[in-house]
Symmetry: C2
Subunit: 406 residues, 2 copies
């Protein structure tokens, strides 16, 4: 007997047939003797319609009223799924954020979960009832409905799993697990049986958008074992767990890529102490997220400073840099959106030297020029020309022995 | 300065343009210096869709989950209207039933309002903020969402008006007031400036479906002054108030009709004490609502017993009567759905004799046979053949001097 939280996203509850299908899956777990709670998203398309209405009335709508409107999407699903479960003989009841309660801060539209009262849910579950909980929403200060931001239902599921001390949090989605890389680029990509939290965080941050980053962070912090699996097929998915649980650790777990960043270069910046602060301070103040940074010292006492920002943030970055032009003293700003960030991720990199060297050698052999390099404890990322994306990913996937047997 | 509750039904908030229109109307009252609270229904069509989903999943769905699902319709409207109001500079916030709270009993799907906390609403209103309250819903025992049944938003509005001690409750709808009779039958029907609560109750019960009956009962009990007016046109509507407020009281205020009833006759019932109880006891037990009753004594010690029930209830009535056939001892049951109940209503009838006589004389002159008569203190109803409906209504409207000047 285990205690399981099952989470179903918008496409899994898109219509009544799919809701019935979800009910059948839940029933199977209940009949296997497990204690089950379910977290659901809005039926797909519903949230978009609600957001559209708010935006049409006012682009600058009150975030509190926006939350009141969009939270109804999940509320509808909870009631319908509870009915579908009861219809096939499973005791169930719906729970909204304010009923649990799922307490959040007051940051409407992107609230943080502060506390979930698990006692009543546990009591119901041990009595054989399935709580069907609205994802994506909570209750903030002054009894206002809050929402957790896009993808927030994953976060709700992990938070509920922590609150009821679940053995596992199963995230049902439209992919069937986490792969060594994007199977659309590498047909021989393998589904991973298990990924460490830290690896998942790095993979998520570089574009493997299976799980919302905040939900992985929370799972790691609260030691919630997460499984990603398909709601349409009937096979095991991928576990996201503590690294201690992963018996065989490859050097590199996956190859990820992101086309979301652009490269910005400041030419001929005077090389003097404090110059980095002069460049990046104003960008941070303007909420421009800077990722990779590299600085090349020239022979004439000036340096070219290169960094990456989100493609959508290039105009804002230019504006900020223009304002501090006098202070920084650069000659020109060059932005290049035609770049891709390629990363190798693996907790094995912590204890093994030379992992990154294989990356550089592999890319060199394919004639791919590396524009920027950045590293973390379990990740090495390089920026390359966008046209090399597929070539680089495939070569690295093979080089690190990740290809499935032919 | 007055304190006003404004209620807008589904057609008045059917889309964003109409919601903006409602916001403009609310703003006008606020700018006139009034304290305003608003009660809204779901956007028209939304509730039907939600009900359909519940019913498709299970015809015998859990009423608690049904309430959770359908209450979202009003929630969406509250948020959108709050945004629309803020956009034109009116301070506003949405309130769901559980936030106010509007406490009800646990009769899900048709709950009764037990108590509304008015203090916080009054505080907001006197601070210049407009509470936008979800109609049709409340919170029952164990923190479950309840709904008040179809048309329940009228009830919500009157209950809120009582709770905040409003000077008036304005019900905006798709008709512009209460008429002396149905203008589709009598083009010269007149809009009434004021109607007494008791009259409105009798008019509602015989088919003038402008206001939900329970909301009129509550208004009468709590002395809430109600105004019915159009949300599409800009002119005063009809007041529903205490009879003391109505200065000039005509003998007859209106002529109403109902095609919802059928006539049932039990032939040759033995005329003995207790026979009425034998007939109507089992019908009441089976929840069959009996309205008009008449009994004609024959010369042979038997009697024909005639009464009316809702047309939809005829099969159930037949079934009940069949079961008690031996006990009652009638010869046959005859049901006739081709009847209409015509009523004249007016508090003036209390103090004036001969009002009903004019009705009988008028119908006789037109050659209309009266099948059953029933009377109350302020109403006289007759059952006539359905084909005489328009003729009877027109003749009575003229006879009681209700026609507008030509």
């Amino acid at each position: 007997m285990a205690r399981i939280v099952m989470k179903f996203g918008g496409t899994s509850v898109a219509d009544l047939d799919r809701i019935r299908n979800v009910a059948t899956r839940v029933k199977r777990e209940v009949e296997a003797g497990h204690e089950v709670a379910v977290v659901v998203s809005a039926m797909s398309g519903v949230t978009n319609q609600l957001v559209k209405w708010c935006t049409e009335l006012s682009p600058l709508h009150d975030a509190r009223e926006y939350d009141t409107v969009v939270a109804t999407g999940e509320q509808v699903t909870t009631g319908l799924l509870a009915i579908a479960l009861q219809t096939i003989g499973v005791d169930a009841r719906s729970w909204q954020g304010w009923q649990v309660p799922i307490r959040t801060d007051g940051a409407h539209g992107k609230a943080r979960v502060e506390e979930i009262e698990g006692a009543r849910l546990i009591e119901r579950m041990s009595g054989g009832q399935v709580p069907v909980i609205a994802g994506f929403q909570g209750i903030g200060p002054r009894e206002r409905i809050t929402t957790l931001g896009r993808g927030g239902s994953d976060l709700s599921a992990v938070a509920v799993a922590a609150a009821v001390r679940a053995d596992r949090c199963d995230i049902y989605t439209d992919v069937d697990g986490i792969y060594t890389t994007d199977p659309r680029i590498v047909p021989r990509a393998r589904k991973l049986a298990a990924v460490a939290y830290e690896e998942m965080l790095e993979l998520a941050s570089v574009g493997a958008k299976v799980l919302q980053t905040r939900s992985v962070e929370l799972a790691m912090k609260q030691k919630v074992r997460v499984q990603v699996l398909s709601s349409f097929e009937d096979k095991p998915g991928s576990l996201v767990v503590d690294e201690d649980e992963i018996v065989e650790q490859p050097l590199v777990t996956g190859v990820a890529y992101s086309r979301d960043e652009a490269k910005v270069t400041l030419r001929r910046v005077p090389d003097k102490p404090g110059i980095a602060a002069t460049v990046f301070g104003p960008l941070a103040d303007a909420n421009v997220n800077v990722d990779m940074i590299v600085q090349n010292l020239g022979s004439d006492g000036t340096t070219d400073m290169t960094f990456t920002v989100g493609k959508a943030e290039v105009p804002r970055a230019r504006e900020v840099l223009e304002k501090s032009r006098a202070e920084i003293g650069y000659s020109e700003v060059v932005a290049d959106p035609e770049v891709t960030k390629i990363s190798i991720v693996g907790i094995g990199m912590r204890s093994h030297a030379g992992v990154a060297a294989t990356m550089f050698k592999t890319l060199a052999e394919k004639g791919i020029n590396i524009q920027v390099i950045s590293t973390s404890e379990i990740k090495t990322s390089v920026l390359v020309g966008a046209e090399y994306t597929e070539l680089a990913v495939r070569a690295l996937h093979t080089a690190y022995g990740l290809d499935a047997p032919a």
